[in-house]
Subunit: 140 residues, 2 copies
DNA sequence: TAGTGTTGTAACCAAAACAGTTACATCAAT
DNA sequence: ATTGATGTAACTGTTTTGGTTACAACACTA
């Protein structure tokens, strides 16, 4: 199991917008060239980022822009925009209530699973787009 | 995206073995009854747990047993037994090296991704099968 | 107002992952 | 030999992902 590449693509999209929005119009075709995936995929992900209010897209004329400052966009924001699953773990549905383990497994595991997911999300919220932009400029 | 239910099933299996191995023979059919999934699925996951040296399975005569004490088996051990993916995130393959963002995105993101994955794995390693067994007995 | 470049979206397709099932060879004890 | 298990192959259906073509809708510009 792996997370879809939508997450890294979305991050790449936002980085490009942050980097280039003041110098040129950032279209799905331009992004497609940098990321090297089909422009329709870019437009779909841009749509999800737009629904999540991370970017604004100019209809007709074209071009995508950050909808909030780069230091207010975290990796967690990006992740949640493109991964709609609420629960990280898929629990088997029908444990047997007649078995002492089957009856209690949800009670015992649910809290642990929440904690694990929170640990991951907390770490994601520590990094902002602004941090990534800074790193990118250092590596250019 | 969600992790496969193999993780929760594997945990359920180990809990059942820990709970019942001294009182009765724990076969894939018995486990199938508590977990409510097909015995072949159980046998496949048991095979993965056996490869990871978490359980021992008696061929022919049947029955599964913990291969190490319950307090030496963590959720991370279980997770790694059944999820063979090394990398949690699927990176898009061919960013454009002519674009300053495309050229550096891996350098910039790889470290962050590692940190996120480590945060999750670290939290998983905090809980042992022994903890879960204790919780289960409290809830019985 | 016609033309241009862009977005939004529908309609497909192929590949992979999952979950489920049947079937059967193999094994170890009685 | 019989019995009860495991290990595994083969097949099915569903979902997700990634990719593609096609085209309507939109907003600017000449």
């Amino acid at each position: 199991m792996q997370f879809s590449s939508r997450f890294t693509i979305a991050t790449h999209i936002l980085l490009c917008i942050a980097m280039f929005q003041n110098d040129r119009k950032v279209t799905s075709n331009f992004l497609s060239g940098s990321i090297n995936v089909n422009p329709v995929i870019i437009r779909n992900i841009l749509g999800q980022l737009s629904s999540a209010k991370l970017v604004e897209i100019k209809a007709g004329i074209g071009g995508a822009y950050l909808a909030k400052p780069a230091d207010e966009i975290t990796l967690l924001d990006i992740f949640k925009s493109v991964e709609k699953e609420e629960a990280l773990f898929h629990f088997h549905e029908n444990p047997n209530p007649k078995c002492p383990v089957g009856r209690t497994i949800h009670t015992v595991m649910d809290g642990k699973i929440d904690t694990i997911q929170s640990a991951m999300e907390n770490e994601m919220s520590q990094t902002t787009l602004s941090d990534l932009l800074c790193e990118t400029k250092k590596n250019m």
